[in-house]
């Protein structure tokens, strides 16, 4: 009814009929690229606005409320401001790496973003190792961060980048292991298959115990990978001014900022896809619930996806504005001595579960 998959396939067949194959494909690629970029920016604006409003509520404040209704135009004003700011050139920095770094950070998050499925038939790319691709490409961001810290030729940025590297490499393990746990259940790395496997019941309900543990571990590890909240050592403003992006200004800083917020959404999106059924509506796998299932299916799939993802984003904001920052040794302790052993055991539990119940 309100689904967009018909529209998408109509556009596709229309283009294919009207134009030669290569021209139709080129147009489609460009169209998808532009749409993705637009969605990326719009989501970033929404997320930043949401963060400011919600952080304000956690501190009993109102947040931005002067520009536009409820301060909703504040972000537009900020964006214009950041676009107009001067880009400071650092004389002793490694110019090429300095400029490449932020694109690497942005490309990493953009490529991951492109692999998400936003709704029924709304996938930019769908291939057999989707989840593997997502995990791999999302690690590209750390290269950007390391390069940014190194090329700025500044001790704060270097320390921030090193911390970020240590943190990301460690937490990548837990994130990967918890996703792997779910892959045992899903039996596929293809994102479409994973989502279709949850049509009747989300994975988190299919194997409640190990899936829940994996879910929580993934949320913690994913949160750490976004360099936010209690894990924001790489930019710990009280010790490192701004960590790896100290020397960036204007739109360059804006890009890092954009990537940070979008990474938050991407983590929520992946968690939604793998644990909460992606764009599948909430269904109760029983005969008596047919009416309820019908009502749930009536809600468009992209609303389901964004609804779930934003709920997870809210959770991440809640965590971010609650806990104090960890020390670097505590951070590594949490990963190597707590999260990783639990993930490994959890994987075993999941394997046994799958053997016993499926």
């Amino acid at each position: 009814m309100l689904e967009l998959d018909n529209l998408v396939s109509n556009v596709h067949t229309g283009l294919m009929e009207a134009l030669p194959h290569w021209a139709a494909l080129t147009i489609e690629y460009i169209l998808i690229g532009v749409l993705m970029l637009a969605l990326y920016c719009v989501l970033a604006l929404i997320l930043i606005f949401l963060e400011r409003k919600i952080c304000a509520r956690f501190q009993c404040r109102l947040g931005p409320n002067r520009v536009g209704p409820w301060g909703s135009l504040q972000l537009i004003a900020d964006m214009v401001k950041i676009l107009l700011k001067e880009i400071v050139k650092i004389s002793k920095s490694d110019k090429i790496l300095f400029f490449t770094a932020l694109f690497l950070a942005l490309i990493g998050s953009l490529c991951t973003f492109g692999a998400l499925q936003f709704g029924k038939g709304l996938a930019g790319i769908d291939f057999n190792v989707g989840i593997f691709y997502v995990l791999a490409i999302s690690s590209l961001g750390v290269v950007g961060i390391l390069l940014a810290g190194w090329s700025s030729n500044n001790k704060y940025t270097l320390i921030g980048a090193m911390r970020s590297g240590a943190q990301l490499i460690s937490y990548e393990l837990s994130a990967g292991l918890s996703i792997l746990t779910m892959m045992i259940l899903a039996g596929s790395l293809n994102i479409s298959d994973i989502i279709n496997g949850q049509a009747h019941s989300w994975y988190i309900f299919q194997a409640p115990l190990p899936a829940l543990v994996a879910f929580i571990i993934y949320l913690i590890a994913g949160h750490a990978e976004t360099n936010r909240g209690p894990f924001d050592l790489p930019e710990a403003e009280s010790e490192l001014t701004a960590g790896y992006h100290t020397e960036y200004s204007g739109i360059q800083y804006g890009m890092f900022y954009l990537a940070e917020y979008l990474n938050m959404f991407i983590i929520a999106g992946i968690a939604t896809t793998v644990f909460l059924g992606g764009w599948q509506p909430f269904q109760i796998n029983a005969d008596w619930a047919a009416g309820f299932n019908g009502v749930m299916s009536y809600i468009p799939s992209y609303i389901w996806f964004f609804g779930k993802a934003f709920m997870l984003v809210l959770l991440s904001l809640w965590v971010r504005w609650t806990f104090p920052r960890l020390r670097i040794d505590q951070l590594l302790h949490l990963e190597w001595k707590i999260l990783m052993p639990i993930s490994l055991v959890n994987m075993l539990v999941m394997a046994v579960w799958v053997v016993l119940f499926f």
Binding site: A56, R57, F58, C60, R61, T322, I338
Partner: protein, 180 residues
């Protein structure tokens, strides 16, 4: 091993406790006041020190005797009490307040002036919208034009001038019946 699990469980418990507290704050009403909108609506605490004023009654009378205690109390030299001598008949003169100058620019709102005033002639008002364009405008005269001191039956007649002349015995005689 048991200690390890115990640590993890207590850690989770404490984290959840922290999250509960922030959630309580989240659903609480924000304490932010939207200032220009709530102008005239918002009620301030009576103890809020906005600026110094000298209340006048309906007959344009204030309570200040011009004693100058507030001027001496003020650590910043914010207050200047200018007095003048007026004839009150019988060839006697009396010191009354001429100008009470208050420089808002140097006041730290410490409250020593109002605390020390024996007549409670100066009080704090809630008005905090002080901004003016020139520094000179910060100096205000607190007593109104043509105002005079409020007559006070028991306390005012023996002013500083009279105290010196009046015999000591008379004063104690006046006070004693009240005390007994």
């Amino acid at each position: 091993m048991i200690q390890y699990i115990k640590d993890i469980l207590s850690g989770i418990k404490n984290l959840l406790l922290g999250m509960k507290i922030t959630m309580i704050n989240f659903i609480r009403k924000p304490i932010t006041e939207c200032y220009p909108e709530n102008r005239g609506v918002k009620v301030y605490s009576p103890r809020f020190r906005g600026e110094l004023i000298m209340p006048h009654n309906a007959n344009n009378e204030h309570k200040c005797t011009g004693c100058g205690i507030c001027q001496m109390n003020c650590p910043n030299g914010t207050i200047t009490v200018k007095t003048k001598q007026v004839e009150i008949g019988d060839g006697k003169t009396k010191k009354v307040l001429d100008q009470y100058l208050y420089d808002l620019g140097s006041c730290t709102f410490c409250g020593l002036c109002t605390m020390g005033c024996p007549q409670k002639a100066i009080v704090w008002s809630n008005n905090f919208e002080h901004s003016v364009y020139r520094r000179e405008k910060l100096v205000n005269q607190l007593n109104r034009e043509g105002s005079k001191q409020e007559e006070k039956k028991p306390v005012t007649p023996p002013t500083v001038e009279k105290k010196v002349e009046a015999p000591k015995a008379e004063e104690t005689k006046d006070v004693n019946p009240n005390n007994q």
